[in-house]
C-alpha cells in the first residue's frame, strides 16, 4: 500500500513578495513499512519535503503546484483541521535537534501523555501508556525520566523521549529529520539502530532526512537523492552507492569519506616535533561563571606531539577535551600544569605580550564559517589583518600578499572587496585559511574546520589543506569528531576520552587495529559500512 504519494510537487518560500522555489516537480512515494532516506546537501529541499508531508511548512511556505497525498488525504491546499488529523496519528516527527525539541517547562512524561490523550485514551491508562512508550524508545528507568524536566536529561535521552512522543501517536509513518547531526556518533548509532528495529517490528514506515549518504546507505530500503529542490536519482542503496546513474550521485558517493587511511607513516622516520604538549592538565574552577556548566571539561595529563610537516589529529566525542587541548596549545587558554613547547619555545606561563611573537609560528582556523569572519570586514581586510597587526609591509605589499593568498586558497582575486555575507560556507572557510596563512606560519591549528560544511565542499577543503601542506611544508593540529575525515587528512592521531589521551599513533595503525575500547567504539559507530563494502 502506498502511504505517501507525491506528484509534481512545487514548494516555495515567500520573501520580499517573491516566491523562491525550494522544491520543484518532485515525485516521491513511500510504501507502508518501507524505510526511505532522502539525501541531499543544504538547500536541496529535503527538509521542505518532509515538512510538506506533515503539513508543518513555515508561515511563508507555500505549495504552489502538484499534490501530496498522505494516507489517502490530499495535503496540498488542505485546511489546518485536515492536516492536524494527519499529524501524530498518521505521521510522527522526530525533530532535528533533541536539545531544543522538548518544551523546557513541562515534564517529559506530560509531553508524551499529550500525544497519548490525543488518541482518546483517558484516566489511569495514560501513565501506563507513557511508560510503555518510554520503554519502547529505550529509555532506562522510565518512571524517573517521566517525572523529570528536559534539562535534566542528556541529549541521547532527550532524543529517545522525542522518539517516544512520535511513537505515542501510533503513526503509520515516522519522519526523522537529520537524526544524526546533533549527537555524538556512538549515541547516534545506538539510537538509529534502536529506531530502525522499532519501525521494522511495528511495521511503521520511516523517512530519514539526512545529508550523510553513509547513514542513508546503512539503514534505508531506498535512497532518494535530492539537489536544488529536484529529485536526482533514487534506488536501493547498493545501486546508488555502487552503480549510480547520475554524475552528481557519483560525486556524492566519491566524496563520502570512508575509513581508509590516506597516509601510512608506520615505516617512516618521525620528523622533529614542532609542537609538544607534555602532561598538560586543566581544571576549570567550579565557580568560574563562563565555564561552570562545563566543569567536567578538564584535561588530565594530556601529552600530544605534532611532527613537523605532518598532520596530527585529535579525535573524540564532544566534551572529551580536544578543543581545550587545542586552545591551550595556542595559548588562548592557560594550562593548570604541564608544558607546551612550540618550535623550541615554552609557552605555558607566558603573558599575552610574550606570546605575541610566537603567533607568527602558529595560527588558527575555527569551526563555524559563519562566525569566523568579521561581517564588517571585506575579504581583503580580513586576510591582511594579521599583517597590519604585526606591521608587516605597506598597503601595497599587503594587497599584493592578499592576492597571492587568495590564489593559494583558490579563490578569484575579485573577491578581495567582498563581504562575508556574499560568500558561501566553503568560500568563507577558504578565506579563514588564507588569513591563517598570511603570517607564513609553520603550524596551523584547525578546530573542526569542515564539520559545518556539505560533503562535496568538505572534500574540496580537505584537498586544499593537503595541497597547501605539500606546497608550503605546513604542519597541522587537526581537531575533529569525525574519524572518517581524520583518515582523509591525518598522518598521526591521538584519541581522547574524558580529558585523557586513550590511544595515539599513526592513523594507519590506530584505525586498522585499535587497542583501546574507546577507539573501537568510535570506529564501529561510523556509518557507511555498505558504502565501504560496495566500493
Amino acid at each position: 500500500m502506498t502511504l505517501v504519494d507525491i506528484k509534481g510537487l512545487d514548494v516555495g518560500y515567500v520573501r520580499h513578495r517573491r516566491v523562491r522555489p525550494a522544491v520543484a516537480g518532485l515525485d516521491l512515494t513511500v510504501e507502508a513499512g518501507e524505510v526511505v532516506a532522502i539525501v541531499g546537501e543544504s538547500g536541496s529541499g529535503k527538509t521542505t519535503t518532509a515538512n510538506a508531508i506533515i503539513g508543518l511548512l513555515p508561515p511563508n511556505g507555500r505549495i504552489t503546484a502538484g499534490s501530496a497525498v498522505v494516507d489517502g488525504v490530499e495535503t496540498a491546499g488542505a485546511s489546518e483541521r485536515t492536516l492536524r488529523r494527519l499529524r501524530g496519528s498518521v505521521v510522527g516527527l522526530i525533530p532535528q535537534d533533541p536539545m531544543v525539541g522538548l518544551n523546557p517547562t513541562q515534564r517529559v512524561g506530560h509531553q508524551i501523555a499529550e500525544a497519548v490523550r490525543l488518541r482518546g485514551i483517558t484516566g489511569a491508562a495514560v501513565p501506563a501508556e507513557v511508560l510503555r512508550f518510554l520503554e519502547q524508545a529505550g529509555v532506562p528507568d522510565p518512571e524517573l525520566r517521566a517525572r523529570q524536566y528536559p534539562h535534566e536529561l542528556s541529549g541521547g535521552l532527550r532524543q529517545r523521549a522525542l522518539i517516544a512522543i512520535a511513537l505515542a501517536g501510533r503513526p503509520k509513518l515516522i519522519i526523522a529529520d537529520e537524526p544524526t547531526s546533533a549527537l555524538d556518533v556512538t549515541v547516534q548509532k545506538r539510537i538509529l539502530d534502536h529506531l530502525g528495529g522499532l519501525v521494522r517490528e511495528q511495521g511503521i514506515s520511516l523517512v530519514i532526512i539526512t545529508h550523510d549518504l553513509a547513514v542513508a546507505a546503512d539503514r534505508a530500503d531506498r535512497i532518494v537523492v535530492m539537489r536544488d529542490g529536484r529529485l536526482v536519482e533514487q534506488g536501493d542503496p547498493a545501486t546508488i552507492v555502487s552503480a549510480p546513474r547520475e554524475s552528481y550521485t557519483r560525486r556524492l558517493t566519491a566524496a563520502t569519506p570512508r575509513l581508509a587511511p590516506r597516509f601510512d607513516v608506520r615505516d617512516q622516520a618521525v620528523p622533529e616535533p614542532i609542537l609538544t604538549l607534555t602532561e598538560v592538565s586543566k581544571t576549570f574552577a567550579g565557580n568560574d561563571l563562563r565555564r561552570g556548566a562545563r566543569g567536567f571539561n578538564a584535561l588530565d595529563k594530556v601529552s600530544v606531539t605534532v611532527p613537523r610537516g605532518r598532520t596530527h589529529a585529535l579525535v573524540g566525542e564532544s566534551g572529551c577535551g580536544k578543543t581545550t587541548t587545542l586552545r591551550i596549545a595556542l595559548g588562548l587558554e592557560t594550562a593548570t600544569s604541564g608544558s607546551v613547547v612550540l618550535d623550541g619555545d615554552e609557552i605555558v606561563g607566558r603573558s599575552w605580550n610574550q606570546l605575541r611573537p610566537l603567533r607568527r609560528k602558529a595560527q588558527l582556523v575555527h569551526q563555524d564559517p559563519f562566525a569566523t569572519l568579521d561581517p564588517k570586514f571585506t575579504v581583503g581586510q580580513s586576510i591582511t589583518e594579521p599583517l597590519v597587526s604585526f606591521r608587516i609591509g605597506n598597503r601595497r605589499s599587503r594587497q599584493e600578499r592578499a592576492r597571492e593568498l587568495l590564489d593559494q586558497v583558490q579563490l578569484p582575486t575579485s573577491y578581495l572587496d567582498r563581504l562575508p555575507t556574499e560568500l558561501s560556507g566553503g568560500q568563507r572557510q577558504r578565506v579563514a585559511i588564507a588569513r591563517a596563512l598570511a603570517l607564513r606560519p609553520d603550524l596551523i591549528m584547525l578546530d573542526e574546520p569542515v564539520s559545518a560544511l556539505d560533503v562535496l565542499v568538505q572534500e574540496q577543503i580537505l584537498q586544499l589543506l593537503t595541497d597547501l601542506q605539500a606546497a608550503l611544508g605546513l604542519s597541522y593540529l587537526f581537531v575533529s569528531h569525525d574519524l572518517a575525515v581524520v583518515a582523509e587528512v591525518a598522518h598521526t592521531v591521538s584519541v581522547m576520552s574524558h580529558g585523557k589521551v586513550v590511544e595515539h599513533g599513526p592513523v594507519a595503525e590506530v584505525f586498522t587495529s585499535p587497542r583501546s575500547p574507546w577507539t573501537r567504539e568510535l570506529i564501529d559507530a561510523i556509518p557507511g559500512r555498505r558504502v565501504v563494502d560496495a566500493a
Binding site: I54, L56, E80, R84, R85, L86, R87, G88, S89, V91, G92, L93, P95, Q96, D97, V100, G101, L102, N103, P104, T105, Q106, R107, Q111, E114, A115, L118, Y149, H151, E152, L162, I165, A166, A168, G169
Partner: protein, 326 residues
C-alpha cells in the same frame, strides 16, 4: 533555596540603601543650598534675613550640621519611618505621605492590574489572530500607545469624555468615577510597554523547535499556544513587572497633576516646584522601595515557575536577552 532567598533579600536591601544614598547625594551634594532654594522658591531674598535668623532656620531643619551627620540622621530616620520635616509646609514628611499614599496606591495598583490584563490580551491577540490585517494592526498598536505623551492622552480624554460627553468628572479625587480616566491614561502607556515585550517574546517562543514538536503531535492551535507557547513566553516577560510598577508610580506624577487628584504624585510635583528637598527624597525613596519590592517578589517567584532554575540550584533567573539568544 534558603540561601537563594536570603541572598535576594540582602541584595534588595542593599540596592534600596544605595538608591536612597544616591538620591541623597544628588539632592544635598550638588552645588545648591536647600535653604536658599527654599527661600528663593518662597520669594524671600536671603539678604532680607539677618544672619541670626538664617542660622536659626538652618538649625531648625538640621542644615547647619555636617553632611555626614545629616546623612546619618536621615538614614536612621528613614529606618524608623521618619523622613524629616517638610521645608515648605513645616509638617512631618511622613504625615504628608501617609495622608496621600492610599489614593496613589489605589490608582497605581488598579492601573497596573488593568495594564497587565490589557497588555497580555493585546499581545495574545496580536500574536494569534488568524486574520492577517487584524494581526498587523494589533502588532502596531502598542508602538502607537507608547508614543503618545501621557499628558496628551489625559487632556484628550478630558476633552472628549468630560467636556464633550460628560461621562466622567475632569478633576477630583472623589468616587470611583473620578478614577476611570486617570487609570485609563496610565494603562494606555503601561499596557503598550508590556504588550511590546510580550509580542516579541511570543514571536521568539513560536520559532522554537519544541513548538514544532507540539504541533507534530497533532495538538490543536489553541492547545499549542496555551500549553506550550504562553508559559514559555510569559516567563522572560515577568522580569519587566518591576518596570511596569515603576511606570505606574511615576505616571501618577503627571496624571495626578492633570486630573488634580490628591496623591503622592501631585505631592512630588509640588515639592519640586517649591524645592522641598526632604519631600522629594521621601517620595523617591518610597517609589524605589516599591520597585525593589516588586522585583524581589518576581525574583522569589521565578524559580517556582521555571523548572530549569528550581531544579538546578544556584542559578539566577535569566535576563531577557539571554533567553532571546537561544
Amino acid at each position: 533555596m534558603a540561601r537563594y532567598v536570603a541572598g535576594r533579600v540582602v541584595q534588595a536591601v542593599v540596592v534600596l540603601w544605595a538608591a536612597f544614598t544616591l538620591t541623597f547625594a544628588i539632592l544635598y551634594l550638588l552645588p545648591s543650598d536647600p535653604m536658599e532654594l527654599q527661600l528663593a522658591a518662597a520669594g524671600v531674598q536671603p539678604d532680607s534675613l539677618t544672619p541670626d535668623q538664617l542660622a536659626a532656620m538652618k538649625h531648625r531643619f538640621g542644615l547647619d550640621q555636617s553632611m555626614w551627620a545629616q546623612y546619618w540622621q536621615h538614614l536612621t530616620g528613614v529606618l524608623h519611618g521618619d523622613f524629616g520635616t517638610s521645608l515648605s509646609q513645616q509638617v512631618p514628611v511622613s504625615d504628608l505621605i501617609t495622608e496621600r499614599i492610599d489614593g496613589t496606591l489605589l490608582l497605581s495598583v488598579t492601573a497596573a492590574v488593568l495594564s497587565l490584563i490589557a497588555g497580555s490580551a493585546l499581545a495574545y491577540l496580536a500574536t494569534f489572530a488568524r486574520w492577517n490585517p487584524l494581526r498587523v494592526f494589533l502588532t502596531r498598536l502598542p508602538a502607537l500607545g507608547a508614543s503618545f505623551p501621557q499628558f496628551f492622552v489625559a487632556l484628550f480624554l478630558i476633552q472628549f469624555f468630560s467636556f464633550q460627553l460628560g461621562w466622567f468628572p475632569a478633576t477630583g479625587t472623589e468616587g470611583a468615577r473620578s478614577l476611570v480616566m486617570p487609570v485609563v491614561t496610565i494603562s494606555v502607556l503601561a499596557s503598550s510597554v508590556l504588550a511590546q515585550v510580550l509580542v516579541k517574546s511570543f514571536d521568539e517562543t513560536l520559532r522554537q523547535p519544541y513548538i514544532a514538536t507540539a504541533r507534530a503531535k497533532g495538538l490543536s492551535r489553541s492547545a499549542v499556544h496555551l500549553r506550550h507557547a504562553f508559559r514559555n513566553a510569559a516567563l522572560p516577560a515577568m522580569t519587566i513587572l518591576g518596570v511596569l510598577v515603576g511606570l505606574t508610580v511615576t505616571s501618577s506624577i503627571v496624571v495626578e497633576t492633570v486630573f488634580t487628584r490628591e496623591g503622592v504624585g501631585k505631592l512630588a510635583q509640588e515639592a519640586v516646584l517649591s524645592q522641598d528637598v526632604p519631600v522629594v527624597l521621601a517620595v523617591v525613596t518610597v517609589a524605589a522601595a516599591m520597585f525593589v519590592l516588586v522585583n524581589l517578589i518576581v525574583d522569589l517567584l521565578y524559580p517556582l515557575l521555571d523548572p530549569r532554575i528550581s531544579h538546578t540550584r544556584g542559578r539566577v533567573r535569566p535576563a531577557p536577552e539571554v533567553v532571546t539568544s537561544t
